[in-house]
C-alpha cells in the first residue's frame, strides 16, 4: 500500500501531466510554423504545372479551409482536437485529405516498428554486453581491438555508412535488394515466402542501423563500467577477495546497466519518429517519411497524431521502467 502511495501514484500523476503538457505544447508549436497546409497543397499542384486559374484558387482556398476545420480560433481547434482524441479519432490528413490519419499511420508504422524494434533490441543487447565486458576487461587485447573498431565506426555519418553498405552488399556484391520493403509484385499474405521476402529487404537497413547502434551502446556501456569499476564498493569487493566474475557481473555490470535500461526505454519511443535517413537511403517504407512530409506540408493532424502516439508511448515506457526499477536497484527498493 505504501509502495502504491509513495512510489506508484506520484509517477502515474507525473505520467498524466507529461502527456497532457506534451500534447498541448505540440499543438501550439506546430501552429506557429510558417506553413499553411492549404497553400502547400496549391503550391504542390502549381509546382508540377497543373492548371489552377487564379479565380479558382481563391474558391479552392476557401473550400479547403472550411473542410480542414481551420476556420475557428485556436482554442476551438484545440478543444475539437481533444474531443476527437478521446473518441480515438485523429481526423483526416490535411495534405492527403480526406484520407483518415489513422489509415496512414497503420500503413506506415508496421514497417518502422518492425525494423526499429529489431535493430534497437539487438544493438542494445550486443553493444551493452560487449561494452560491459570490454569496460571491465579493458586491458585485454580483444577489448582494445574492439574499442578501436568502434572508435572508427562511431563517427561515420549514418548516411555515408548506409550508402557504403548499399554499394558493397547490394551493388558490387549483390547479396541484398537495392531497396524497397518487399519485392515487386509480392502479394501480402501470411506465408513463409512473404516473411522471408520482408526479412531480405529489411536485412541491409537493419544491419546498417544495428552496427552503428551497437557502437553507440558499446561506448556508453564501456564508459559507465569503467566509472563504476573505480567506485569504493568495487574496490572494497576486490580487497575482500571476491571472485573477478562475481565482481564483474554482480557489482559492476548490474549497476552499470541501469542507465542503459532507461536509455533503451527512451530509444524505443523513438520508433514514432521513424528512421528517416534509413527510409531515404534504402527506399524503405516507414513513418519517418510520413512525418517529414507532414511537417513540410503543415499537415497538423498527421503531426499531432504521430507526436501524440510518441508522447504516450515514451511516457508509458518511462513509467514502466520506473515501476520495474526497484527490481534492479535495491537502493530504490529500500527507499
Amino acid at each position: 500500500m505504501l509502495f502504491l502511495k509513495k512510489y506508484m501514484l506520484p509517477r502515474v500523476l507525473q505520467f498524466l501531466t507529461v502527456v497532457f503538457v506534451g500534447i498541448t505544447l505540440v499543438f501550439i508549436v506546430i501552429r506557429m510554423l510558417p506553413v499553411d497546409p492549404v497553400k502547400q497543397i496549391i503550391n504542390t499542384f502549381a509546382m508540377f504545372g497543373a492548371t489552377i486559374d487564379p479565380a479558382s484558387t481563391e474558391l479552392l482556398i476557401q473550400t479547403l479551409r472550411e473542410m480542414f476545420g481551420l476556420e475557428g480560433t485556436i482554442f476551438e481547434q484545440y478543444f475539437a482536437f481533444w474531443g476527437r482524441l478521446f473518441r480515438g479519432d485523429f481526423g483526416p490528413s490535411l495534405f492527403l485529405f480526406p484520407v483518415p490519419v489513422i489509415d496512414l499511420i497503420v500503413t506506415a508504422l508496421p514497417w518502422t516498428a518492425g525494423l526499429l524494434l529489431l535493430t534497437t533490441f539487438i544493438s542494445w543487447l550486443f553493444g551493452t554486453i560487449m561494452g560491459g565486458l570490454a569496460g571491465y576487461f579493458h586491458k585485454s587485447l580483444w577489448a582494445k581491438f574492439l574499442d578501436r573498431v568502434v572508435m572508427v565506426l562511431r563517427p561515420i555519418p549514418f548516411y555515408v555508412f548506409a550508402l557504403v553498405m548499399l554499394i558493397i552488399f547490394a551493388y558490387l556484391i549483390p547479396l541484398f535488394p537495392l531497396g524497397g520493403g518487399i519485392a515487386v509484385g509480392t502479394p501480402i499474405t501470411f506465408s513463409w515466402r512473404f516473411i522471408v521476402d520482408v526479412i531480405r529487404h529489411a536485412a541491409l537497413p537493419a544491419l546498417s542501423m544495428g552496427i552503428l547502434g551497437s557502437a553507440v551502446w558499446f561506448q556508453t556501456m564501456r564508459l559507465i563500467v569503467q566509472s563504476v569499476t573505480s567506485e569504493d564498493f568495487v574496490v572494497y569487493a576486490k580487497a575482500g577477495g571476491l571472485k573477478k566474475n562475481t565482481i564483474a557481473f554482480k557489482y559492476v555490470i548490474r549497476n552499470a546497466i541501469l542507465p542503459q535500461i532507461t536509455a533503451l526505454g527512451l530509444s524505443l519511443g523513438q520508433i514514432f519518429s521513424g528512421a528517416l535517413i534509413t527510409e531515404i537511403v534504402f527506399a524503405y517504407p516507414g513513418i519517418g517519411s510520413l512525418l517529414n512530409a507532414a511537417i513540410i506540408n503543415g499537415d497538423y493532424n498527421v503531426i499531432m497524431a504521430i507526436t501524440t502516439l510518441s508522447i504516450v508511448t515514451i511516457s508509458t515506457l518511462i513509467l514502466i521502467v520506473d515501476l520495474i526499477y526497484p527490481l534492479f536497484d535495491p537502493q530504490v527498493r529500500f527507499k
Binding site: 499553411d36 497543397i41 482556398i61 549483390p174 515487386v184
Partner: protein, 665 residues
C-alpha cells in the same frame, strides 16, 4: 574459468550480432515471389523480341519482377513525386494530392484533351474534336470519341462526363468544386457522345479545365463511382482505366506500382491514335535518392530516371547503355515548357522600382550564371516564356528585332540591353571546358538559346545610383545609407533547379557588391504565397500551355484583380506585380477564343510589357535531367527525334509507349 566465461559471453554477443545481419544466410537465389499475371495474351501485334544476344546476368539480390512478367517486356520508370503516401488509394478526383504520377495520369486515365509541348499540338483524346463554343461563349459542346471503353468493358460515354461534373459540383472535397460551381449553370448529355455545358457567363477558356497539362479534370467511371457512398472517401481500388494500362499490383509501402497493358488497348485513345504500347508492363518505382537511381540504372533496373546533374554524369560514365535527351553535351531537356529564374516581391521596396530590377538583371553574366548553376548545361531564356522550339518559332524569333531595338533609359541616354551574342559566349565557354561545340551559329542557338541580357555592371551601377543607392568601399548601400542586405528565399533541396538559380544569382550579385543572405526554408511555399520574402527563385512567370500559343494562362496571373497586400494569400503571381497595360491585354484575351489569330499579337504585346518592367528575371528553361537506359528499350524521344514530350511523369507518356522499341535483350 574466468577466461572461459568471458569467451563464452563474447561468442554469445557475436552470435547475436551475426543474427542481426543474419540475413546473409537467408535464401537469395530463390524465384521471385509473384502473382500470376492477370489476363490472356494481348490482342494485337506482339512486340518484336529478338533472341538474347548474350546471357543476361541474373539480378541476384535485386528485386526481380513477378513470375510471368519478363524484364524485356517491362519498362521501368521513376516516380517524380517520390514515395506514395496513399498507396492503396487511386481516387485522384479529390481536391488534394494523391501522387498522380505513379502511372495514374500517364497510363490509367485519358483526358478530353492534352497538350504536347514538343509538337505544339493539342491532342483530342477522349474528345473527338476541339471544344465547340457558341457565339457568345456561354455554351460549350464536347463531342466524345466513339467506341472507347473502360477497362472493365463498359463504354465511355457522355454520361460519364456529365456524372463527373455533377459529382464534383456536389462535393466540396473533390477537385474542381469551386470553378465548376462558379461557371457551370447546367451540364447535360445531348446524345450518348455529346455533352453540353451551359455557362453562367461568357467564358472563352472554360475548356482549359479539361486540357491535360500535368493535371486536368478527367472523366470518372460513372458505373463505379455512382455506387460509392462518398466519392471523396472512395479509394477506387482496384481502379478501372480509360487509358491503355490497368493495375497489376502495387506496393503497400508506397514504392512501386506495376501496370499491365490492356488486352483491348485499341479501345482507348492511345490505341486508336498511336497504336499498341510496346511494353506489356510498366513499373513505376521510387528508387530513392539520385545515388540509388544511378546504382539501379547500372543494374538495368531503371529505364527512365530523373537525375541531378551530378547523378546524370555518373550514370553516363558508369553505364554504356545510358543516354540523355541530347546525346552529347549539354545533355539536358531543352523542350520543357517552364522558364525558371528569379522573382522579386514587387510589393516591397526597393524591388517596387523597375530600375532596381533592371540593375539586378544587368548585374548578371548569364554565361557565368549558367556555368555556376547548371554546369553549363541549360538553355538561356530572355523572355517570360520558355525558349522551347515551338515558343521560339511563335514568339522568340518574331520578337528578335524588337528585342534588339528595345532600350531602357540610363543616365539620360537610351541603352540597348539585349545581347544576341550571349549564346556565342556560352559556346566559347563550353569549348574552353573541353566540350565539343559546333561552330554554326544556328546550332549554337539551338543548344544554348537565342540571346539574353547584357552583362553591364557599369549600367547597373548608374541605374542604382540614379535611385539613390551608393557604393561604399565596394559594397552597395540603400538610399537611407544602410548596407544593402538582399535576402534571397529558397528551398532546401541543394540540387533543385530553383535552388541552383538562387545560388547562382547570389554569387553574381555578391560579385557586384550586394550582400546576399540566402534563406533556405522548407516553408518556402507558404512564405512566398503570403509575400513574406524579398527575392525568391520561384517561376518568373506562370508556365504557359506549352503546346498552344495562347498566353492567357501566364498573363492572367498578373492581372491586378488578383493582387493582395503582403500578409494575405495572393491568388495571382507571387511577385505581386501588375500593370494597367497587362490588365488590358488580359481583358482582351478573355473575350476572344484561344485560337483567334489576335492571341499572337496580344501575346507579343504582353511579353513586351513584361520585359519593359522586368518584374522577375527569366534565366534558363527548366533543364530536365532525364537519363534513359537503353539496355532493354530504345527509340526514346530524344533531341534528334522529338516525336513527343520526353518525360515519364507527364500524362502524354502513354503516347510515347507505342513508339518505343525493344532491343531484344
Amino acid at each position: 574459468m574466468q577466461k572461459r566465461m568471458v569467451g563464452v559471453l563474447v561468442v554469445v554477443a557475436l552470435l547475436i550480432g551475426i543474427a542481426a545481419g543474419g540475413l546473409f544466410f537467408l535464401p537469395r537465389d530463390q524465384e521471385p515471389i509473384v502473382e500470376e499475371p492477370v489476363g490472356e495474351e494481348p490482342v494485337g501485334e506482339e512486340p518484336v523480341v529478338q533472341e538474347p544476344e548474350e546471357e543476361e546476368p541474373v539480378a541476384v539480390g535485386e528485386d526481380a519482377l513477378p513470375g510471368g512478367v519478363p524484364r524485356n517486356e517491362t519498362l521501368i520508370a521513376g516516380i517524380l513525386s517520390g514515395k506514395i503516401m496513399t498507396p492503396d488509394d487511386f481516387n485522384v478526383w479529390t481536391v488534394t494530392w494523391k501522387h498522380v504520377d505513379r502511372g495514374i495520369q500517364q497510363l490509367m486515365l485519358e483526358p478530353l484533351w492534352i497538350v504536347d509541348y514538343v509538337t505544339g499540338e493539342v491532342i483530342n483524346a477522349l474528345a473527338s474534336e476541339p471544344p465547340i463554343y457558341n457565339e457568345d461563349f456561354t455554351q460549350m459542346t464536347v463531342k466524345m470519341r466513339d467506341e472507347m471503353f473502360w477497362s472493365d468493358g463498359v463504354q465511355i460515354t457522355a454520361d460519364d462526363l456529365v456524372f463527373t461534373i455533377e459529382t464534383i459540383m456536389q462535393n466540396p472535397a473533390l477537385g474542381g468544386h469551386g470553378w465548376s460551381n462558379a461557371f457551370v449553370e447546367r451540364v447535360y448529355a445531348q446524345d450518348p457522345l455529346t455533352v453540353v455545358f451551359e455557362l453562367k457567363e461568357p467564358n472563352t477558356r472554360f475548356h482549359s479545365h479539361f486540357v491535360d497539362r500535368w493535371g486536368a479534370t478527367r472523366p470518372m467511371p460513372k458505373h463505379i463511382f455512382e455506387q460509392a457512398e462518398d466519392p471523396a472517401l472512395f479509394p477506387f481500388n482496384p481502379p478501372v482505366s480509360s487509358g491503355p494500362f490497368t493495375l497489376h499490383s502495387h506496393d503497400p509501402g508506397g514504392y512501386w506500382v506495376l501496370w499491365e497493358r490492356r488486352e483491348d488497348w485499341e479501345r482507348t485513345p492511345t490505341g486508336e491514335l498511336f497504336g499498341m504500347p510496346a511494353p506489356r508492363y510498366v513499373l513505376f518505382r521510387h528508387h530513392g535518392p539520385p545515388e540509388m537511381r544511378v546504382l539501379s540504372q547500372g543494374r538495368h533496373m531503371l529505364d527512365m530516371a530523373d537525375m541531378s546533374m551530378e547523378a546524370l554524369r555518373a550514370s553516363l560514365m558508369g553505364n554504356p547503355y545510358t543516354r540523355t535527351f541530347r546525346d552529347e553535351f549539354p545533355w539536358t531537356v531543352n523542350v520543357d515548357p517552364a522558364i525558371t529564374g528569379i522573382m522579386f516581391n514587387t510589393a516591397r521596396p526597393p524591388f517596387d522600382q523597375k530600375e532596381v530590377r533592371w540593375a539586378l538583371t544587368l548585374a548578371i553574366d548569364i554565361v557565368d550564371f549558367i556555368a555556376i548553376g547548371f554546369d553549363g548545361a541549360a538553355v538561356m531564356g530572355a523572355m517570360h516564356l520558355p525558349p522551347t522550339p515551338v515558343y521560339q518559332e511563335w514568339y522568340y524569333e518574331p520578337m528578335e528585332d524588337w528585342k534588339k531595338e528595345f532600350t531602357i533609359q540610363v543616365g539620360g541616354e537610351q541603352f540597348h540591353p539585349y545581347d544576341p551574342e550571349a549564346p556565342m559566349r556560352m559556346a566559347e565557354h563550353s569549348r574552353l571546358r573541353g566540350f565539343a561545340v559546333p561552330e554554326d551559329p544556328q546550332e549554337i542557338r539551338d543548344m544554348f538559346g537565342i540571346g539574353w541580357w547584357k552583362h553591364a555592371p557599369d549600367v547597373a551601377t548608374t541605374l542604382l545610383e540614379e535611385q539613390g543607392f551608393e557604393k561604399i568601399r565596394g559594397r552597395w548601400h540603400l538610399p537611407d545609407g544602410t548596407p544593402w542586405v538582399l535576402t534571397l528565399l529558397t528551398g532546401v533541396n541543394p540540387i533543385g533547379i530553383g535552388e541552383r538559380n538562387a545560388f547562382a544569382a547570389a554569387q553574381q550579385w555578391e560579385r557586384f557588391g550586394i550582400d546576399v543572405n540566402i534563406m533556405a526554408s522548407p516553408m518556402e511555399g507558404t512564405m512566398v504565397d503570403m509575400g513574406e520574402f524579398e527575392v525568391n527563385e520561384g517561376w518568373p512567370a506562370i508556365e504557359p500551355w506549352g503546346g498552344h500559343h495562347d498566353l492567357y494562362r501566364t498573363f492572367n496571373t498578373w492581372h491586378s484583380q488578383f493582387m493582395r497586400p503582403i500578409g494575405e494569400t495572393n491568388p495571382g503571381h507571387d511577385g505581386r506585380w501588375s500593370d494597367p497595360r497587362m490588365d488590358a491585354i488580359v481583358e482582351r484575351l478573355e473575350v476572344i477564343g484561344w485560337d483567334d489569330p489576335e492571341t499572337f499579337e496580344l501575346g507579343m504585346e504582353g511579353l513586351k510589357v513584361a520585359i519593359e518592367e522586368m518584374p522577375s528575371i527569366p534565366t534558363v528553361a527548366f533543364p530536365g535531367m532525364i537519363v534513359w537506359d537503353e539496355h532493354y528499350w530504345t527509340n526514346f524521344p530524344g533531341a534528334e527525334n522529338p516525336y513527343t514530350q520526353p518525360y515519364h511523369h507527364w500524362p502524354n507518356f502513354k503516347y510515347m509507349l507505342p513508339f518505343l522499341e525493344p532491343t531484344g535483350r
